[in-house]
Amino acid sequence: MIKLRHVSKIYPNGARALFNVNIEIEKGEFVFLVGPSGAGKSTLIKLLYREEIATRGQVIIDQINLMRLKPRQIPLLRRKMGIIFQDFKLLPKKTVFENVAFAQQVLGKGKKEITENTLKTLELVGLARKKDCYPLELSGGEQQRVCIARALVNKPSLLIADEPTGNLDVDTAQEIMEIIDKINKMGTTVVMATHALHIVENMKKRVIRIEEGKIVADSKEGAFIN
């Protein structure tokens, strides 16, 4: 599903974010990216959704070589993936329902399909009852669930998460992880960057550790020990 071959990323200001990274992720896998701040986790995540482009090497997702992707093809790549962030990025003037519906509206889907998908997805993340609330009326955990619903509503095969629990307390973070795990068990590949080690230890999944732009450990399920 995802292949990174000899990937390096040097920002225009000279900062070396990644150095000769090789990763292969199978379809349906759940992979954590861990490491201290500034290690290159976010850069790696950004390479996956083609917000950044690698300086060297190859990034291949679903047989699409992102290095050769033309700008106008980027939207097609992004439709294959759902992306969630630490800061949610919800639209405050839209209700929960509208926030999730918006992601489908902009792809030109029909009203009936949008309503159906939105309700189903809100059900999945346990927010069906709050569909008419505005984001600011929700707790942090609920807002993140809206964000997950929005990322999932177009049925992506890959879920990319950059510190999705970063703003949440331990219990709420655990709830979010249960939802993400549920989604993974339904067949969606998950790549999640985090520095919350307790989560990583609880989940017992594959863990890739990055330090100073290099992969220092890639351990299969449960083998991660700090």
């Binding site: 959704y49 992004r78 992601a103 902009v106 030109g108 929005r150 990322a151 177009n154």
Partner: protein, 294 residues
């Protein structure tokens, strides 16, 4: 599916327009001003050209003869003029007739005595051309005939008129260009404001894979609508005032020639419409070009 997109685009464009009502009004008014100026300049220039052409077609050439020609020589000159192509009519004014006319116009009967009994006025042929375009050429040819001392035709007036319209064309061009530029800036500013306002929304649209075209369209439609509304007001102003002018001239100043060709007027109005929408689209494209690049 297509219909959903079109609907979405238009709803977004209209809500953007209403969000910033003052900037929207200012944008529309500048487009209107630019186009009203453009339209009136074109109609004014078309009319001056038309006036020149109409008067030119009625033009006469005055050929003043040398002094002391015999009747026979005068007849010879007349025959030579008559042989030239494009001559419609020749009329002779003798020095006596010329003097009488001058006395009449000055309201005196003693002009000859005042001048010491000598009539200084030469005999003159008044030549009418069959076609306005032949006048200049004809005048030169008549001037070359032996016995013709001097010719005069409306050259001064038309040179001045044409000089004036040339000058006006430049002024018009500059003023229209300035106002077009102002419209461009205001519309671009309007759209930029809305782009900034929707920054979060645009970011999310990009993340969920909305195409750039889809993100751009509402803004392009917004620019187009600003140009369109400005153009429609300008068109209403121009067609109303030109029609009133037409009525007034036809009823009260019927000797003044004015362009009444409705096809031409329609073309001017259509051009204004296209120009307005063009400015709007261009402004959107300019303000969008710096973002959505990757």
């Amino acid at each position: 599916m297509k219909l959903n997109i079109v609907k979405y685009v238009f709803i977004q464009a209209f809500s953007s327009l209403s969000r910033n009502i003052w900037l929207t009004t200012a944008s529309i008014l500048t487009v209107m001003l630019a186009l009203t100026l453009l339209g009136s300049s074109i109609l004014f220039l078309a009319n001056t050209a038309y006036v020149a052409e109409t008067f030119e077609s009625q033009i006469e050439i005055a050929a003043f003869l040398e002094e002391g020609l015999s009747d026979e020589e005068i007849t010879q000159v007349r025959n030579q003029i008559a042989r030239l192509p494009g001559v419609a009519e020749i009329k002779l004014t003798t020095p006596e007739e010329a003097l009488a006319e001058l006395q009449r116009s000055m309201g005196t009967t003693t002009l000859l005595e005042d001048l010491g009994g000598v009539n200084p006025l030469p005999a003159k042929f008044t030549v009418m051309a069959t076609d306005a375009h032949l006048v200049k050429n004809l005048a030169v040819q008549i001037g070359n005939i032996d016995g013709v001392a001097k010719i005069r035709y409306g050259q001064g007036f038309f040179e001045k008129l044409i000089g004036f319209t040339d000058w006006l064309r430049w002024i018009g061009l500059i003023v229209v260009a300035l106002f077009s530029f102002a419209s461009l800036l205001l519309i671009a500013m309007n759209i930029k404001t809305n782009v900034n306002f929707k920054e979060n929304e645009i970011q999310i649209m990009r993340l969920v894979g909305a195409s750039n075209a889809f993100i751009r369209w509402p803004f392009i439609i917004e620019g187009l609508l600003l140009g369109l509304f400005g153009a429609l007001i300008a068109i209403a102003i121009i067609s109303f005032s030109y029609n009133s002018l037409l009525d007034y001239i036809i009823n009260s100043l019927s000797f003044l020639p004015i362009v009444t060709d409705s096809d031409f007027i329609q073309q001017v109005l259509l051009m204004m419409l296209g120009y307005g929408m063009g400015i709007g689209i261009l402004a959107s494209v300019i303000s969008l070009s710096r973002f959505l690049r990757n």
